[in-house]
Symmetry: none
Subunit: 229 residues, 4 copies
């Protein structure tokens, strides 16, 4: 019978710090405070990314996150409801932005080989050479234990990317640039990206992998001009 939570608190957002827009007086300092607040939030997210990436959700201590963010342990709770919220927010924050970019790219209706080059480049620069790589690994590692998060990821990220890809592939197939079967499994396009992410985290030190080359090879193999059956 612990004290009942009165804190309604939105799903995953900051709990109280509502930062009401301070209309009128003290606009200046309120703005500063808001800024500082956003900076802190980002610092926490950045620290959390490091820790979660290195240790996984359960093994990460908020103490370490706080220390890394240069704040006190309790401060985390001013910005996130609990450890899980922090985790989920982190993943959302990191993964949401890519979607738009890919959708835009898909809508441009470029010739497939050009599009493919762009996608590979996008993946390498925006994901693979970024912390986003680790976030995706986290998603893979912990997703089963956070069904809500998996759902979010599917709905907001994956399904949209897949839909965009599928549309492109359909058009390309209609133009004969691509074998028809590919549009049924857009996942195939992304498969080497997944391999790259997993490999880099676990086996890079034993055998480096030239991700860009691998992806390029894959694309060439898929798009190679075929003899008529």
């Amino acid at each position: 019978m612990s004290r009942p939570r009165t804190t309604t608190a939105t799903p995953n957002e900051r709990p109280r710090s509502a930062h009401r827009s301070a209309s009128g007086v003290q606009q200046r300092s309120a703005g500063k405070r808001k800024q500082r607040s956003a900076a802190r939030r980002d610092a926490i997210l950045a620290a959390a990314l490091e820790e979660f990436s290195d240790r996984g959700f359960e093994a990460t201590r908020l103490d370490d996150v706080a220390r890394r963010a240069g704040i006190a342990k309790g401060t985390i709770y001013l910005y996130f409801r609990d450890k899980e919220s922090l985790f989920q927010e982190l993943i959302r924050t990191m993964l949401t932005p890519i979607v738009g970019t890919i959708e835009t790219l898909g809508a441009a209706d470029l010739p497939v080989n050009l599009l493919a080059d762009r996608l590979v480049d996008l993946f390498v620069r925006e994901v693979f050479e970024t912390r986003r790589k680790d976030v995706i690994r986290l998603m893979i590692a912990e997703g089963r234990r956070f069904p809500k998060l998996a759902e979010f990821y599917y709905r907001e990220v994956l399904s949209r990317i897949i839909a965009a890809m599928r549309a492109v592939l359909r058009r390309a197939a209609a133009r004969g640039e691509v074998p028809a079967g590919l549009a049924d499994f857009p996942q195939i396009i992304a498969a080497p990206g997944l391999v790259a992410i997993v490999w880099s985290g676990l086996f890079e030190r034993f055998e480096p992998l030239d991700v860009r080359a691998m992806m390029k090879t894959h694309v060439e193999l898929l798009l190679a001009p075929r003899r008529a059956a």
Copy 2:
């Protein structure tokens, strides 16, 4: 001593459990005992598989493993040095057997399209429709925190599979059955398998994925007869 913070990868084998046959006396019952002992060990591993698969390393309680195995908590420590050992042994035990099968298959020197069919079938039946799928997911999820385990996996499993694949692809390329580039990145062959494993764990419930069809499509795309450049 309570749970150590830093994951000091320790020698992974059974600690003391002197299973070596009792010298002289009671040779007979010693055999029986050995049998029972092996059965217990297996029961623990089986239970651990379920629990680790469902919850991940940290979130798994040895209490639950013991309960599921039908033994007392302390008994686990007669067969495994600690939680980490149990985990690592489990992964080793589950993943080692596939290697031989794949190597054998590779050595058979079949025509690539036939080999491809066999590989797809092998993967689906021996991995995907098996708990091994979960073990691989575990490996992906926890690998970074168990460098020794990742190393083992690379050395004993991955590198050997890759070597086998590469040999096959080289020969096939020489015969013109396969584009030369593929041998540089045998990972490409496995990529959809990885996609399948990840997808099944996280997104199956939103959008089912016909793994066999996807892998078949992938293989067909890769092996399709090409026009001369």
Copy 3:
């Protein structure tokens, strides 16, 4: 999304230590263990009584309870589900026994003045000069925040005592030994007892109170032979 509790655990009792009766082998040591277990449980309850009495529910640290009981903090959780359970069990354990005694006393159908003497004596010896006094104070102090406990106390203790008293008073009133109104409010009988308990905890050091004398006086005033109205 913390790990879901599989521990069903009965309302307030010991969580797992089910102490299955070990039928057959090792009866001896099992008995010993059971004994030791009961002793430990009692030690915890005794320690909890001290601490809760001194500090109240919230301010009591289980750490202190454990230290006082001579055990490790975690051990408490082998016997009680949580702090609240410990608290509630403590109160139940302490208060339940009195009821029977009072009921028996009431059923004996003694002349009121004799009964009154006995009740006063019972209260003083079994409650006031006992730790039970503190338990009742605890009940008063914390009851509002533990509605379940208040309900238990009302149902299992108070209402039964009141019923017993009322029956006695009815009979006595019928015999003219007691004014009729008293049976309507048996609480009046107990009122000085309550005063005694509260006084002893808070003001004894400023002004001692002769509880027995006060209660005797009260009884005499209530039972004094009256002039006909």
Copy 4:
């Protein structure tokens, strides 16, 4: 500094808040400010009353008090040194006023039966149907942990009420209106009041208690004309 463990009863008044009129300048607005200040103080006390009554001392969060009072958390510290001070002040503020009323009533030297009626009425209207009831319950619940407070309560409230009662009862006994013994234990008079307070907080929902009737009954029983022994 975080919450101190040991309850060091500290001087209870406002800490620094230099409410003394600003010397010279702005005399006018200083008055207004003083007013506002007092209003704020009262708002805090009112909010604290609700919260402390509902949850007890430890379980009450100053955050909730502040929210209820419509102020910021930090503001509380402008009016009270700390949580404990607030608590003690609250109790003092609430309980002090009754004393005078009772003393006055006692000094009036009414016939006992009339006085008794007045007292019952006073208790019901000024305590029982008031938040003061809860304050007394708080005093009972937390008194042991706040010895200073208990002492204050005894010295400033209880002992004075008791003295007044005793004086009245002595005079009444001399006139033969009351048995002599009663003057020895004026607590007896108050006992049903205590019962009423405790009962209302814990058991009212199971079995309502007509407090006024109970107290009236009690008085009648005590004051009933007696046969000469």
